[in-house]
Every structure is written in structure tokens, then in C-alpha cells.
């Protein structure tokens, strides 16, 4: 199992004229250190209009900076929105290929379709169409990377014969993923031979179900690209410290800061009735509310006013056995759960704006790299960064796990 870092580029209020600058610059410093320390990958979201929560609308630019300032760490879209009203698929193929060249073949191409009214409403994109828009674009983009003269006559975009340039360095193309935040998207990933990039904070038991579904489906998938990227990623939070109370305090700030900011946006399923985004029914919601009430109030009692962040004394009780938060030994134990579940990659949020002091984050990354990463086998994938001879021999990243599973059965 490998470990990556994940960026939303949150900028919590109050803002100063330098707030965004500070978040971008401290994040890039973290990425440079993570590269030196041997982290597997850095990922960045694409979000629009999500005040405070994510100021990462131009993730291609941020990732280009990451690529230019590092040598080994892989560079991941986590994810690129494949909706023509946001990004024309040709522009996406061009941008991704350029980053693959600048990074010397280190791109991981994550895809998705947005979950918020803020974004879809902002780009006047009909929520009912997003699933089909994504499906059309994810099928077309690998063709743009490979074909000299690509043409497309689809429902959501059309392209006359054109040579889409540049072509990516990784051949036949970079590994492709899709953001998975529900059982349905796990199925979409498996059926298309895409990597399953977990982006929700679902409970381990729920994620285990999704992983099993994905592994079953990917065996007989029809890949949209030239190979199967059979890998499973999951999203986590990271703060590692020898002092368990300090780890808990900063870890709690990360988790609560993220959740508080995230809760203020308008998820499509909250406001727009459509089958394309599943919504809990009224009865289900009411039951969930009743069940959650006691824990919600108990949780609330621990929290400071203003939906704000924890103090050191309050954070002492913050312990969870599924997070990369704690001492190295605690984290190793927690991460083994994910490894046993079949997760190949854990991507970790290490900061929410500048809520956690930069020196603490850098120290946490160093300790994690020294003590936690070596406790895990990286797996049998080819050496990184991109090796043209290895790629030629294997035709890129083959679906080795799927093939092995099929052979075994």
C-alpha cells in the first residue's frame, strides 16, 4: 500500500489579502518535502465557487507547479471535472498531456462530475446530464491521446478530425481513475477498468463493500482506455506526532475544519430531485436524524461555539481507528485495516488552509515518512517515475491484479 497527499486548498475566513497566497505557497512547500520523503503521489481537487472549502479551481495550474518543483512524486488530478460546460474534453486531454510531459510521465488522471449545486448551477449545467457527460468524455479522452486524427460526434460534444496535441509521455496513456463517493460510482469504475479513487469519508465497512464490488466487476470490465488501472484509493486525514495528544488535537482540527466547511455547500442530492444523484428519502432521513441526534448533541457539547475548532483539552478524546492521526504505531495499526481491505493507495489531507501550523505539518510528514511508510509493502507495480522500456514491455500499467484474480478463478 502506498501513501499520497491530497489538496483542496481550503482558505478559511477571516481572509487577508495574503490568505490565498499563503495557502498556495505552504502547500507547495509541503509537496516538495513529500517528494523528498518518498510519498507516492500528490492529488488536487477541481472545485469552483466553494468559498473557504476549496480555492482550487485551477488545479491543472497547481499540479503543473507541483510537477515542476518535484522529481519523483506522481501528480494526480483528484479529480478533473469531465463536464463540457466546465472543461471541453479536448482542453482536458491537452492539459493532462502537457502535465504528463512537464512531470516526465508522472500524471495520474482522475476524473469526475461534481456533486454540488454551487458548481453545476454556476456553470448552468443540468444535473441530470452529468453522468452521461462524464461517460462520454471519459471514453473519448484516451482516444484523443492515442489517435493522430481524432474525431467525435457525441451527444454532448463534437470534434471534426483534428490532431489533439501534445500527446502524453506515458504510453499508451496515463493511468485513469474515477472519483468514487457512492456504491454506484464504484460500479462505474469497475465496469470501465478505471482506478477507484475513494473521495468520501464513508465508514470502512461501507468502503469494504464498494471495494469488493469493484474487484468483482473489474475482472470482466470493458476498459475505456488501453489498459485496466485496477487500483483502489481511499481518502484520509494525516497528522502524525510522537505525542498522542498533539496528534489528536491537530487531527481533530483537520477533520472538524474540513467537515464544517464542507457542510455549508449545497449538495445536489439535498436540493435537486434526480436519480442521477441519489438522495436519502424523507423517511430514511428522519430515521437517520433521530439516530444521529444523541451522538450529534454529545459531539456538539464537546465543540467550542461558532462551529469552530478544538482546543487542546477538548481534543484529548479525539481517537478514531480508521484515520492516519496519532503516533506512528497508532497510525500503522489503523492503516493495516485499510491494507487488509484491499486498498492500494491512501491519499491524505494534511492541511485545511493554515489551521495547523506549517512547521507541525512538515514535522508530521517527516515522521510519517520515517516510521509509517516503511511499514507497508509498496506492491509489485513498475518502478517510478516513468520508465519507457518498462512501459513498452508491459504496454503501460496492466491490470495485473485483475489478470491474477481471473487466472486464480
Amino acid at each position: 500500500m502506498r501513501f499520497g497527499i491530497f489538496y483542496e486548498l481550503a482558505v478559511p475566513k477571516p481572509w487577508t489579502p495574503e490568505s490565498e497566497l499563503e495557502v498556495y505557497q505552504t502547500s507547495l512547500e509541503q509537496v516538495r518535502l513529500a517528494d523528498e520523503l518518498g510519498f507516492d503521489s500528490v492529488w488536487a481537487v477541481e472545485h469552483h465557487f466553494l468559498e473557504e472549502y476549496s480555492h482550487c479551481s485551477a488545479s491543472d495550474v497547481f499540479l503543473t507547479a507541483c510537477a515542476a518543483q518535484t522529481k519523483n512524486i506522481r501528480i494526480g488530478f483528484g479529480i478533473r471535472l469531465l463536464l463540457p460546460p466546465f472543461n471541453h474534453p479536448v482542453r482536458t486531454a491537452e492539459t493532462a498531456a502537457a502535465i504528463d510531459l512537464i512531470s516526465n510521465g508522472r500524471l495520474e488522471f482522475g476524473t469526475g462530475r461534481s456533486q454540488t449545486w454551487n458548481e453545476l448551477g454556476g456553470f448552468l449545467c443540468d444535473p441530470d446530464d452529468t453522468k452521461d457527460m462524464w461517460a462520454e468524455a471519459v471514453e473519448a479522452i484516451p482516444k484523443m491521446w492515442k489517435e493522430e486524427y481524432f474525431s467525435w460526434d457525441g451527444k454532448y460534444f463534437k470534434v471534426p478530425p483534428r490532431n489533439v496535441l501534445p500527446k502524453p509521455l506515458q504510453k499508451p496513456h496515463p493511468p485513469m481513475w474515477v472519483a468514487v463517493s457512492s456504491p454506484e460510482t464504484a460500479i462505474q469504475a469497475g465496469e470501465r477498468g478505471l482506478g477507484m479513487l475513494g473521495v468520501s469519508g464513508a465508514a470502512p465497512e461501507e468502503q469494504a463493500k464498494r471495494i469488493n464490488t469493484y474487484r468483482e466487476l473489474v475482472r470482466n470490465c470493458e476498459p475505456v482506455g488501453d489498459f485496466v488501472n485496477e487500483r483502489v484509493g481511499t481518502l484520509n486525514w494525516l497528522h502524525c506526532s510522537e505525542d498522542p495528544d498533539e496528534a489528536a488535537m491537530y487531527g481533530q482540527q483537520l477533520v472538524q475544519g474540513f467537515n464544517t466547511l464542507n457542510a455549508h455547500f449545497v449538495a445536489i442530492r439535498q436540493v435537486y430531485p434526480t436519480r442521477v444523484y441519489r438522495a436519502p428519502g424523507g423517511g430514511a432521513r428522519a430515521r437517520r436524524d433521530r439516530r444521529g441526534a444523541a451522538s450529534q448533541r454529545a459531539e456538539a457539547a464537546k465543540r467550542p461555539a461558532g462551529g469552530g475548532l478544538a482546543s487542546a483539552s477538548q481534543a484529548g478524546t479525539f481517537r478514531r481507528d480508521d484515520l492516519a492521526i496519532g503516533t506512528p504505531d497508532q497510525i500503522i495499526k489503523n492503516m493495516k485495516r485499510w491494507e487488509e481491505m484491499g486498498v492500494d493507495l491512501v491519499t491524505c489531507l494534511v492541511s485545511v488552509g493554515t489551521l495547523v501550523p506549517q512547521e507541525k505539518i512538515l514535522k508530521s510528514l517527516k515522521l510519517f515518512a520515517e516510521e509509517v511508510i516503511p511499514a507497508f509493502d509498496k506492491g509489485d507495480e513498475e518502478p517510478r517515475p516513468y520508465d519507457p522500456r518498462a512501459a513498452a514491455a508491459t504496454n503501460g500499467r496492466s491490470g495485473s491484479k485483475a489478470e491474477k484474480a481471473a487466472a486464480a478463478s
Binding site: 449545497v266 439535498q270 434526480t274 438522495a279 423517511g283 430514511a284 465543540r303
Partner: protein, 247 residues
């Protein structure tokens, strides 16, 4: 010796007037309710200036106009319409009522006194004609708002959602120098059993710009969704009570 009254606490009915209560205690079963809900983006300043300190606005700010026709209830048929601002209590989605109109005296009293809606007596109509639904909300002969839903398309019950409401219950002190003895937010969260559900396009107009009933303040800046449902509604006691002014 003085002869004191014998009408003790054990004899108190659910509401006043004590000897002739206006309405019975919850829960109320409201069978075959028809509910029109139009959701749209609204002005940020309206949201921030109207919500109490315990609640925070959503990003982007949006609200609902919810118009209901209840053909049967413990106090007879009535209509109800409410303007709501969608908000968050801590991290959960809720809706805060700005104005409510209820069409009968007994229902209006119950909605204001017990369920803590900012209710006034007025006129509410809700009609379905073919593939459109029309609603009108008025008071003292003035139409405060009219809502029209078109292009009805059936959806499943699983796609429907009504946000629980956080209603402000404020009881003023009898003496000027005292703080309100009751100042809280009551979560009113009816249970719905859906029978038929639709979505469609919605439009709202505010024909009268009334100072006394300023429904026009919540202008539509961007339509999000409009739904219409036929359902059985059970309106019970408040599910939770939380602080009015502390997040």
C-alpha cells in the same frame, strides 16, 4: 377565608382559551396533503440579516416557498404557506421560517403558538390543473406571492427531500426589564408518507410589496428546483430544542 379556584394544573387543556381550546394536542395526521415546494437562490444579505445567531447560511444562499393544502386535519381543512431560508445548524441542513400564512383561525393559532411558525391569518390556495400547479398566498385581500409550477415530471419518493425547520419560539417577559423567559429554536420535522411526487419548473411573483408582510424581500435570483407531492403528513412535537443565539 378566601375561596381559591379549583381549575388546577391537572385540568389544563393543551391550549387557551382554557374552557374552549382552539386546537387539540399533536400529533396531527394530515392525510392527502398536497405540498408545493419551490427552491431558489436568494440574496446573501437577506439570509445573513434574517437568521438567528445559532444558524449559519448555506453557500450559495437559497430558500424555499412551501405551500400546502391540507384537506383533512383535526381542525378541518386549511392551507398554509411559508417562506424559508435554508441554513445550517452546526453542520446539518435546516430551514428557518421567515413568514407564514395560515388560512383558518384554529390552524393559525396552533402553527404560531405551538409549532412556533411566524404565522398570520390569510388566504392560501393551491390548485393542480393538468400539468401545472398554481398557488396564491394573500392577506387582507392583497396577493403577497404567487407560485406556478409547470412541466411536471414524476419522480420517486426517494428523490424528495424537505429540510427540517428550526422555528423561533420567543415568549416576551411581562416586565419590561426582564429577558425573554423562552428564547429557543424548535426543530419541527414532520414525517411524510409520499403517495405521488413530481418535479418541474417553478416561477414566483410578488404582486404586492407589502410593508406589513414583506414576502417580496425573498426574490428569486436563480431557480433551483420545484416539486409537488401528495402525501400523508404527521405533524408532531418538536424533535429537538436548541439555543436561539449560540451555535
Amino acid at each position: 377565608m378566601p375561596e381559591y379556584g379549583r381549575f388546577g394544573v391537572d385540568k389544563l387543556p393543551f391550549t387557551t382559551p382554557f374552557l374552549a381550546p382552539l386546537y387539540p394536542a399533536p400529533p396531527w395526521m394530515l392525510e392527502d396533503s398536497e405540498i408545493l415546494l419551490m427552491s431558489y437562490e436568494i440574496d446573501k444579505d437577506l439570509a445573513e440579516s434574517s437568521l438567528p445567531p445559532a444558524l449559519s447560511r448555506s453557500y450559495p444562499p437559497y430558500g424555499h416557498i412551501m405551500v400546502s393544502n391540507y384537506p383533512s386535519s383535526p381542525v378541518g381543512p386549511f392551507g398554509q404557506a411559508t417562506q424559508l431560508i435554508v441554513c445550517r445548524w452546526r453542520t446539518t441542513a435546516r430551514a428557518y421560517p421567515l413568514f407564514t400564512i395560515v388560512s383558518t383561525e384554529a390552524a393559525c393559532a396552533a402553527f404560531r403558538e405551538f409549532w412556533a411558525f411566524p404565522a398570520k391569518l390569510g388566504e392560501v390556495t393551491l390548485e393542480r390543473n393538468g400539468d401545472s400547479v398554481s398557488a396564491s398566498i394573500g392577506r387582507n385581500g392583497e396577493v403577497l406571492a404567487s407560485v406556478r409550477m409547470t412541466d411536471l415530471e414524476e419522480v420517486t419518493a426517494g428523490e424528495m427531500r424537505y429540510d427540517p425547520m428550526m422555528n423561533p419560539r420567543v415568549v416576551r417577559a411581562a416586565r419590561e426589564e426582564d429577558d425573554p423567559p423562552v428564547l429557543e429554536l424548535d426543530q419541527i420535522d414532520p414525517d411524510y408518507t409520499y403517495k405521488q411526487t413530481w418535479r418541474g419548473q417553478g416561477a414566483v411573483e410578488f404582486p404586492a410589496e407589502s410593508e406589513a408582510d414583506p414576502w417580496h424581500l425573498m426574490q428569486n435570483r436563480n431557480h433551483i428546483a420545484t416539486t409537488f407531492a401528495v402525501c400523508d403528513t404527521q405533524l408532531g412535537f418538536a424533535r429537538y430544542v436548541v439555543s436561539f443565539d449560540e451555535p
